[in-house]
Symmetry: C2
Subunit: 563 residues, 2 copies
């Protein structure tokens, strides 16, 4: 009976099982879901949802081309259904049917999969390739629980509200849109995601329960932050960022057509600003890459410079100081000051510190190479050789000790190729490879501030950056000032702006042209860098796919003086 002063007519208690699914680990993922189910039962939950493709993790990529993988996913979810007969669970799985594969959720009830919903909107842009694997679904699925009408959606389904309105046209009244997602982090993404959830709530005048994945998977970090919105579009409660969380709320349709949301837990702490957000992503991405690939310990070269210092601090936050080894490998070009700073950093972090001077090795290389006419020790080749000796030492110790080598290059360097291929790019994981240099400085300040003491030595932060591969070398000899460089790179790499657009926005013409040439010319080098955490809207990974062999130089929009 719906009358009176908007009484609450019924309630459904919804739990969002935001967990760290591991790609391919069907048994492990199901174990996690069973644990969360047990907790949900204790909290008397009616409906428990897990992230997109929860059974196999996201993205499984070409595992989806293996017939037996699809069979195994189905068997795992069947078993999960049998193991968890009470309550209704919504579990993502790749669903194979009549020779087609769908990105689906199964509705698990009474010990079996009672129905499946197939994702309608398949992203095939940015880091996503879902049309490579899946066919779109075409049928909405409505559940009724305690008279509450729940529509199932998967990730992108709610990002195009016009499409969704059309898709749900014949569904009738909706009290709750449940969305299960695997939405990766980048700076600014949470704001957009909250808008999408709010818009959806307002459009259908219903509550929205948004369940996101959490965890690092190769270059991607899923940041969690599952949430509930009420039918006014207000975000009522948000789960942990960068951590697992079982977020529970009651969804309560009222007689006036509004739908209330009543959270069952105190609010989770959220990152206070963009730098702490990025820090959280880097820590989780590094921890999960190491852990999920079987590494307990990591190893990195520290130079006394800011990039390796920030990388080391993140490694310690991710894995503990007892699992981080800092190695300094000075040559005659390294100043005593930077060597001292490297040591001080390791001491501040409580990490192991080793010193291996490379001078004797460099000397023997030089003698050997001097047999070849044309070799000299005054150019780039000799500089790069020093980086390659260091790379070889790190990789040798990695092999011997079973520790993962972290590389320390930032996005600004990676963009313009200011790195030695198979030298400082040699390693297993590039912690800050998507972090622009200007943000590396912000991270350094953040790390010291958060610790309440000097972790990264002040001199490391204030000294002019140098690769120390020749006497008195400074980054500024080869590169524009990092503030300027990062503005050009944000425009060209992340926003696909043309040289002309950048110049018209006030950036200096000659430098813009030079930077763009450097970016274009170094695609091959970036292709051979290890993976690293993506934190920007466009990293040098699956979201930016440019040919190595590429003769394009713009004519219409170059901003050239010639017509």
């Amino acid at each position: 009976m719906r009358c009176g002063a908007y009484p609450e007519v019924t309630t459904v208690r919804v739990a969002l099982g935001q967990f760290n699914a591991v790609v391919g680990d069907l048994a492990g993922n199901c174990r996690k879901m069973r644990e969360l189910w047990a907790q949900a039962v204790q909290s008397d939950v009616d409906l428990l949802a897990f992230p997109e493709l929860a059974v196999c993790g996201y993205p499984p990529e070409d595992l989806l081309h293996k017939r037996y993988f699809l069979d195994d996913c189905r068997l795992a979810v069947d078993k999960l259904a049998a193991d968890c007969p009470d309550k209704t669970m919504v579990v993502g799985l790749p669903e194979s049917s009549a020779g087609q594969t769908y990105n689906s959720v199964g509705v698990l009830k009474d010990g079996q999969i009672t129905t499946t919903y197939r994702k309608g909107m398949l992203p095939n842009f940015g880091v996503f390739d879902e049309r490579r694997y899946f066919r779109p679904g075409s049928e909405p699925v409505l559940l009724e629980l305690n008279d509450v009408r729940v529509v199932l959606t998967i990730c992108l389904d709610i990002w195009n509200i016009e499409w969704l309105g059309d898709f749900l046209r014949d569904v009738g009244r909706i009290d709750l849109v449940l969305n299960v997602s695997a939405s990766p982090f980048h700076l600014g993404k949470i704001k957009r995601r909250e808008e999408v959830v709010s818009d959806c709530a307002r459009e259908f005048e219903c509550a929205v329960a948004y369940c996101n994945l959490v965890g690092g998977q190769d270059e991607l970090v899923f940041d969690g932050r599952s949430m509930f919105a009420d039918s006014t579009g207000t975000i009522i409660t948000t789960a942990e960022a960068f951590d697992e969380h079982l977020l529970i709320a009651d969804v309560i349709p009222r007689d006036d057509g509004k739908v209330k949301v009543r959270p069952m837990q105190p609010p989770a702490k959220q990152p206070i600003d963009r730098v702490s957000e990025v820090h959280g992503a880097l820590v989780l991405g590094t921890r999960d890459y190491a852990r999920k690939n079987g590494f307990k310990k990591v190893l990195l070269g520290v130079s006394g410079g800011i990039d390796s210092a920030v990388t080391a601090a993140i490694a310690v936050a991710a894995l503990g100081e007892q699992n981080v080894t800092c190695l300094t490998m000075p040559s005659k070009f390294n100043s005593p000051d930077t060597v001292k700073d490297a040591q001080q950093l390791a001491e501040n972090l409580g990490a192991e510190f080793l010193t291996i001077p490379i001078e004797p090795i460099l000397g023997r290389f030089h003698e050997a190479l001097a047999m070849v006419p044309g070799w000299d020790d005054a150019g780039i080749a000799y500089e790069n050789l020093q980086a390659r000796i260091r790379g070889s030492i790190l990789m040798s110790l990695s092999n011997q000790l079973g520790a993962l080598v972290l590389t320390t290059g930032n996005k600004s360097e990676t963009s313009v190729g200011y790195a030695t291929l198979y030298g400082d790019t040699a390693g297993g994981f590039g912690v800050i490879k998507d972090v622009p240099k200007t943000m590396v400085y912000e991270l350094a300040e953040h790390i010291n501030k958060a610790a309440g003491r000097e972790i990264i030595p002040a001199e490391t932060i204030t000294r002019a950056p140098s690769a120390e591969l020749r006497p008195d070398q400074k980054d500024a000899d080869s590169l524009p000032d990092y503030d300027l460089l990062d503005r050009i790179l944000a425009g060209y790499v992340e926003q696909d702006k043309s040289a002309l657009q950048l110049i018209e926005s006030g950036l200096p013409q000659q430098i813009v042209r030079r930077v763009i040439r450097m970016v274009d010319r170094n695609e091959y080098k970036r292709r051979l860098c290890p993976p690293g955490v993506r934190i920007t809207p466009k990293a040098f990974g699956k979201d930016r796919r440019l040919p190595i062999t590429n003769h394009y130089s713009p004519t219409t929009h170059l901003g050239d003086d010639s017509p």
Copy 2:
């Protein structure tokens, strides 16, 4: 008038401009097309077609996300139309319209683009990502030239004959299907392509003119072999493999409904067997990667083994012996026999030969690393170190001399990770990275036979393979026999078969399981190998996209003893 004993009622002379388009080189590609147009005019051609996306090369990948790139492509084709007013030309371009992008061909006539056809079937599998960029077209385009009715199609459009029949339902009589393609080479592809062209001809009882791209683009090699089929489905004439060719034929509808094809040139020589096909692909792929990326010279390590010998021979075929430097870098583990064979190889090829012993460098590295507790010179790390010293020497000389380093790993090794990351995998291009070891032997025999003399020393072919990184090491100590290994790899990697399927086909259970584990575990290493020529249906490039972080181990189909 159509009567009598099947008289030929009319004729259209068609030229297929199979040329080596360079990705992004709009001006250069248009220059080539103008040259071919001038030749076609001399041959009194009515219709001249170029390969798919001829103006910008294929695949342009994320260049298509740059608005100004699309504008430049359009301007370039407009200019080409103005430059080539006579005859009808069909020129591939990415077409931007109302915020969407299409994979189109422009019909150029009387100095302008008179109409465009938009590709209807967009491949988004294997190495293709066309749905990332393009919307499908929905309208057929029919040209009439000399009363001959010509339907335009692009690549995949003719590969699904049911779809095409439906798409062309209302077009009426068709005399010629023109298909412009960018169809990359792999072993066995030509046979499938000929079937597709024949089926299309028979289905529509018309001639088919199939214009394919030629040239190397990163990992892909486009093999050309454009062709004409008559309406019985017989392939009448085929253009050069792995080379440019302006293929001309008259297409002649007859009064009985059949369509004849009369070639205007003697037949082009075709590869005689699969090994010569692979050789052609490797030579073109290597030449184009070097040339298009600005390298005249290449440099590689030669060990006296078969992989480096075949790589060196292909490099000489691609770039000339004057542009190839072979470097041997012996340690105490290298036998005098292999060093001698390496020298003999270089001599046979007429290539420069250099020797840089690595023993002194290895000694200093060992001294330095011995400072770290746990280091020893008896394990894998010490073996890998030797490979990394060689990699550093090659990369140093590459930097100093401006030569591209070729890596020499084959597909069998690459599959199971039998290689040193940043050691023998360090370089710019991996010539035989998609060639299974058993085929490397076939290539060696082919190279010697084709030369009519010993290029690759007989001992290099007959000696048991060894990495020579420790005393008396043999590949067979670590790996199964290569015949067996390659059969397992073909099944698991290229055909996505499960362990159970492989075991049921008679392959030994323990070895199958071990090999699969090795393949799965080495994804990270393959991701960091330089690009190389794709010759199989599934290379370790864009056609096999597996996560690095991946805990999947099959349960249903493992062929395990346990239930």
